[in-house]
Symmetry: C2
Amino acid sequence: MTTRRRRFIIHAATSCALVFAVTLARAAEPLASWTDGPARARIVAFVQAATQPGGSDFVAPADRVAVFDNDGTLWAEQPMYFQLAFAVDRARAMVATSPELAEKPAMSAAAAGDMKALAATGEKGLAELMAVTHAGTTSDEFAQVVRDWAKTARHPTLKRPYTQLTYVPMRELLDYLRANGFRTYIVSGGGIEFLRVISEELYGVPQEQVVGSSIKTKYEVRNGQPVIVRLPEIDFIDDKAGKPVAIHKYIGRRPIAAFGNSDGDFEMLEYVTAGDGARLGVLVRHDDRVREFAYDRTSSIGRLDRGLDEAGPRRWTVVSMKDDWRTIFAPER
Amino acid sequence: MTTRRRRFIIHAATSCALVFAVTLARAAEPLASWTDGPARARIVAFVQAATQPGGSDFVAPADRVAVFDNDGTLWAEQPMYFQLAFAVDRARAMVATSPELAEKPAMSAAAAGDMKALAATGEKGLAELMAVTHAGTTSDEFAQVVRDWAKTARHPTLKRPYTQLTYVPMRELLDYLRANGFRTYIVSGGGIEFLRVISEELYGVPQEQVVGSSIKTKYEVRNGQPVIVRLPEIDFIDDKAGKPVAIHKYIGRRPIAAFGNSDGDFEMLEYVTAGDGARLGVLVRHDDRVREFAYDRTSSIGRLDRGLDEAGPRRWTVVSMKDDWRTIFAPER
């Protein structure tokens, strides 16, 4: 062995030792924002079982896949889905430069910030709003619009950037799972191209691990430059029974842990927790009116009804934001 | 630091050193089955440029994504796509147990192994053959059928299992890229659920890094067990302009290297090599009648015509299987 190669190996070994030391130190206190309740205990027990070599519930690293809903599970979703807030803001900007767009009732209502009038346009109006504000550009242009919006937009009642409204305990959970060899995916009802722009920064989840609803796209060469063009046509809705379908399509293997907060996540949890061996299904319950929002069985956004009834018999863990989380949002930066 | 923790770190550091030593040894001779020609030189120069810290073409590890066509690029595709051979074998097995299936002309021709009669059923017949042999089961059942087939089926003229007909130089290339921090994806015109069953064993490519054509599926609970059911309806054809669309959809970022062998890969190479910085586009040319097959501009399978004309001006590398590869297939096991 040459001296240079030996030095390189010693250097590499030292780096490895440091990485291990840091990992050990961090692993000493995972999930610091979780109280010492049954939810945290259940999560830790699952991870320990899945990673204990030789244990009866050991799961090979390749199969350690965890899926997370986004709206209401990783960040807030009241008083409206943040992507709808984006659409409303974008409608305002688009109507300002192209006033003829206000001829569409949903665009005009959104541009005026009149959420009541917007709701009155019904599903058809909302679909039109999403089509006009989300299609017609290239994917690169759309990503830039989302990036710009995310930098400046603020939540109407919490008065903070949307990007600061992720749940600290859930980000700790993502880190904890990854530190234990899990690959973490987002499986959202929201738009895949919207989320991918911000998923790495918000959650450390890279683009290729984001699954979501999509519109159709097509490939074109414009002025010699290949582009992906966004079309005003639904491709796939990643909600309810669509979630297992999308998981199977994008990931190709059944995850062993699923995290959601609404009945839109029911089938995903059902699919994931029905497999053999170590399995974990978790529902985040919004019951903290003071620090966040309180809603479940009758909410039009993020309704959690069947999930609450069946969590017990299905051995899913219900997380109380009020009791299980010491902190919800990070201190304002 | 406790003795136990110290021991653990020393152990971890030793393991890391070993891993590094092995990696160094292997890296000493990458692409051993490639001759010292311009194709190998171009590939190595690209990888060195993309991984040279501080270099003008350095690419961050997160963006080191390489995409590979499968049929004709990673394994052979003559005298018919291997997945078609699978469909023919499966038609025979299905007709044996359900003779009424032979009422469909394509099924009857396939079951009889009469490829001429099968071709005469046209596109409609082929679509019917694929629908009957590929749908109607759960995804788990289908995976088992493919697994069983791959264990026993043999190529009609090369007289070897299809699974031994991968190209050794391309497997070395996959390893070489991965050793240099690349994530390797397959982007195939073939069926995603067919390929995923064998991609890990054949190429070291995990399920979630396989993109391909797909049929629709739906989620169902059967006897209390959640299943994904395969429907006889095309979802997406991952060929030609569909390849960049699928790459954008599944991976969400533009790869920096693309490998193909036919005009079905043209748009993929065009899309990938049009980006800024270090880019690599490679076409494998089938010009070795002795060791494999020789075909290009006029072949009905794997036609390479426009790609040959434009490879020069586009600075794509054309690999001659005859001249650039010392070995094509591994010795029979």
